[in-house]
Amino acid sequence: MLTVIKCGGGAGQDPVHVSPDVAALTARGDRVLVLHGGSASVDHLAGRLGVPQRRLCTPSGTSSRYTDPATLEVLLLALAGQVKPMLLADLHRHGVAAIGLTGIDVGVLQARRRSVHTAELDGRRVVVRDDQTGTLTAVRTGPLHALMDAGLVPVLSPPAIAEDGLPVNVDADRAAAAVAVALGAENLIFLTGAPGLLADPDDETTVLAEHRLTDGGSRIAGGMAVKLKAAEVALRGGVGQVLIADGRVQGPVLRALGGLS
């Protein structure tokens, strides 16, 4: 039984809540891989370093972090040098043998570098040449299996590595889905800063009991739309179940899985 847990990223969401659950799952012999983001840490560190954070928008309304070279540097600092060590130390305190990786380690997350494109930046349509972003093309499963065979819990995060051998940012939700598919995971759990999938993102009482991937004209947008897309990719790729769950509670993983059963 392999469970991929996507956590971290949203403000107000403490990624270390996952440690007791990871300890419980591994204690019963399950395999676990944690994939984390850390947008709030990136934003905070960017502020301290005076690196402005901007978003690239498309006419269709989606937006993504404008990962210029200075932002990529901050992203690596925050994810690999701050979020991940905190998570690893917490897992260690809970007795979990965890090992941290970004997509650069052993080239685990391989991406195609995004080519020159146009987008809306600060309300103006511009040619973007220096966006250090990519689309995942492959997950190297061999090293991940080897780590798990050795009883270790991989703690993975962006960036990925591009065909030119340089790091590029990739979406962490999509990466979680790609990793879950590549490893043939039974469970993929997205821990979010919301109680579940909301019909109205501003109203936490509107949790949807059911959402069909084929539902057209959905009001669901932003980060949750990306999670839904990633969930769809994972399900179509053979992942047993995908759960989108509240990451702000104690024991969020076991709760989503319905207990240790």
Binding site: P59, S64, R129, T135
Partner: protein, 56 residues
Amino acid sequence: MAMELCPSCRGQVVVDGSARASEIVECPECGSVLELVSTNPFALALAPDVAEDWGE
């Protein structure tokens, strides 16, 4: 505000004075998609033929 020549049709293109390098402007005469490759001095070039969307 500046008047520049379209590199494609030599028509007049108005460039906003607050425009920044890499900004896209369209030629009102021939419809070419142009990139403001420099702001000092203002210089227009045909924009690279690139996708607008994330390609997902």
